[in-house]
C-alpha cells in the first residue's frame, strides 16, 4: 500500500486552498476524489473479510480515510506530506507487529495504555497552563499563553512541529478545510450504506423530493 500513496501524492497537483480562492466546483471535485480514493483503498485493503476484530477494522478504515485525504490533497501542503509519511510508517509498524506477534489483543491493550497515559498527561498539562495563566496577568503571561496554544495547534496539525507561526496558521486553514471535506465524504458513504432495504416494487420510490438522508 505504500507505493500508490507515494505516486498519488506526487501526481496530484492542487495547491493553494483557502476559503475564498476555492470555487464550489473545486471543492466538490476534492470531495469526490477523497471518496473515490477511500473506496479504492478499502477494497484493496481487504477490510471486509480479513480483519477479525472490530477495532482493527476501524483502524484500517481510518488509515484508508486519512491516506485518501492525503493523496487527494496532494503534495503541496506540508501537513499532507507529513500525514502520508506518518501513515506509511504506521502501516509498516502494524505489519511488523502482526507478523511477529500473532496475538492481537496485546496490540489493543498497548493502545489503550498509551491512550490513558496521553490523556492524563494532557489533562495535567492543561491544569498547569490554566494555573500559570491565572497567576500572572501580564504581557509575558499572555505571550506564554499564546505560545502554549500555538504549541497545542502544532501537535494537532500533522507536521506542525518546527513550523513558524505564520505557515502554521496557513497549514491549519488548509487542514481544517480538507478535514471538513473528508468528514463530508465519509458521512455520505455512511448514509448511503445505512439506507434501509426496501422491497423492490415497480412504482418509483426513487423519490428525489423525499430526502432519505437521515436514516440512522
Amino acid at each position: 500500500m505504500c507505493l500508490p500513496l507515494h505516486q498519488s501524492v506526487v501526481s496530484s497537483s492542487h495547491s493553494a486552498m483557502s476559503p475564498s480562492s476555492l470555487s464550489m466546483q473545486e471543492s466538490k471535485q476534492f470531495k469526490h476524489s477523497i471518496l473515490k480514493n477511500l473506496l479504492l483503498r478499502l477494497r484493496k485493503g481487504g477490510v471486509a473479510s480479513r480483519d477479525m476484530s472490530f477495532h482493527e477494522r476501524k483502524g484500517a478504515i481510518k488509515h484508508a480515510a486519512d491516506a485518501a485525504l492525503a493523496t487527494a490533497r496532494g503534495a503541496a501542503p506540508c501537513w499532507s506530506r507529513s500525514l502520508a509519511a506518518e501513515l506509511i510508517s504506521h502501516g509498516r509498524q502494524r505489519l511488523r507487529l502482526a507478523k511477529s506477534k500473532p496475538s492481537k489483543c496485546n496490540y489493543s491493550s498497548k493502545i489503550t495504555r498509551k491512550k490513558i497515559l496521553r490523556r492524563s498527561l494532557q489533562r495535567r498539562r492543561r491544569q498547569k497552563s490554566k494555573a500559570m495563566a491565572k497567576a500572572a496577568a501580564g504581557v509575558l503571561a499572555r505571550a506564554m499563553v499564546l505560545r502554549r496554544k500555538t504549541r497545542a495547534l502544532e501537535e494537532i496539525v500533522p507536521g506542525g512541529r518546527g513550523m513558524d507561526e505564520c505557515t502554521l496558521l496557513g497549514e491549519t486553514l488548509d487542514y481544517a478545510m480538507s478535514l471538513k471535506a473528508q468528514v463530508d465524504a465519509m458521512q455520505l458513504l455512511v448514509r448511503a450504506l445505512q439506507a434501509p432495504k426496501k422491497p423492490f416494487d415497480t412504482v418509483s420510490d426513487v423519490d428525489l423530493g423525499s430526502n432519505s438522508h437521515g436514516l440512522e
Binding site: 476501524k58 458513504l189 423492490f200
Partner: protein, 338 residues
Amino acid sequence: MPAAAVGEIQALIPAPAAGPSDAASAGGGGGGGGGGGGGSFTALLGLPTSQAMELLLPRAAAPPAPASAPAPTFPSDPHLVDRAARFSAFASPSPSPPPPPPAANANAKRKADPGDRASKGKAAKKGKTAAGGEEKPAAGDGEDEKPAYVHVRARRGQATDSHSLAERARREKINARMELLKELVPGCSKVSGTALVLDEIINHVQSLQRQVEYLSMRLAAVNPRVDFGGLDNFLTTECGRIAGLGCKNGIDLEQVTWPEMGVQGARHLMQLQQQFWHGDLAHPLQPSSQWEKRGDGHPPVFSNSSSSLFGYDLTSSVSTSATPNKQAKDGAVIGGGG
C-alpha cells in the same frame, strides 16, 4: 527568476481579484489594511509566502486607481514628511534618519520604535493608525524594481527601520491568516482576541478529527453487511464519470457497467447516487433528470458491450481519471492563483 516571477505575477493579478466572496474581501480588507483590492488580498494569502512577498512589489505598482499622484500635489506637510520618510526607507533598508524639518515627528518615531518592539506593535499600531493611517501606493514606485527587498508600506507615525518593518509585515500576514481562519471556523467572528480564537480553532480541528474517528467506527460497524466489492466498483465508475465530465459530455447511463448485486444492492447504489447529486448543488442536473425520466427503480439493462471508458478496471481508473482531474485542477488553480 525575477522575470519569470513577474510574468507569473502578471497572470495572477487579475485572477485573484475575480474570485473571492464578499465576506472574504471584507475580512481581508479590514485585516490586511488595504494596498489594492481587499478581496484579492485574501486570495494572495493562499499563495506560499515567497510568492506573496514578491506579489507585494508589483501590486503596489499595478493599481493606478488611487488618484493621488506621486510627487507634485501634496495637500499638507505631514503627508510630505511621511512620503519622504518612506522614500528614504525604500532607498536603503538600513534605518535611515528622517529628514531634518520634521524634528518633532522624528522624535515621535524614535520613541515609538522601542515602544513598538516592547508591546509587539499591536497597541501602538492601533493608536497611530487611528490617527491617520491611509495606505499610499505611489511614492516608492521607482524603487519597486529591486527584487530582493520586502517592500511594505509604513503606516503614518510608525518606525521605518528594517526590523520593525519586517516584524510588521509578519504581523500583518499572521493577522490576515487569522481572519481567514475566523471565517472558516463557525462562530468565531464575534470572538475577539487571539487566544480565544486559537482556542476555537483548536476545538474545531479536534472535533473534526473526532468525527473522522466516529465515522470510521460506523463504517466498521456497517461493513460486514455490505457487498463492498461491487459497491465501490460502481462508485469508482461514477466518480470517474463525474471527474471526466469535463472532457466527455452526454454519456448515456446505459453505458455504465452495473455490477451484479441484486435488487437491494442496486437500491443502495441509486440512493447513494442521489445523495451525490443532492449534496452537490454545483453538479449539472442532466443525470438526475435522466433518473426522473426513467421513473422506475430497477437498474438499466446490464450491457456487456460497455464502452471502453467505463469498462476499465480499477488500477487504470486512477490514472485515467487522475489526468482529466489534474488538467481541470490545473486550469482552476492557475485561475485561482495557485
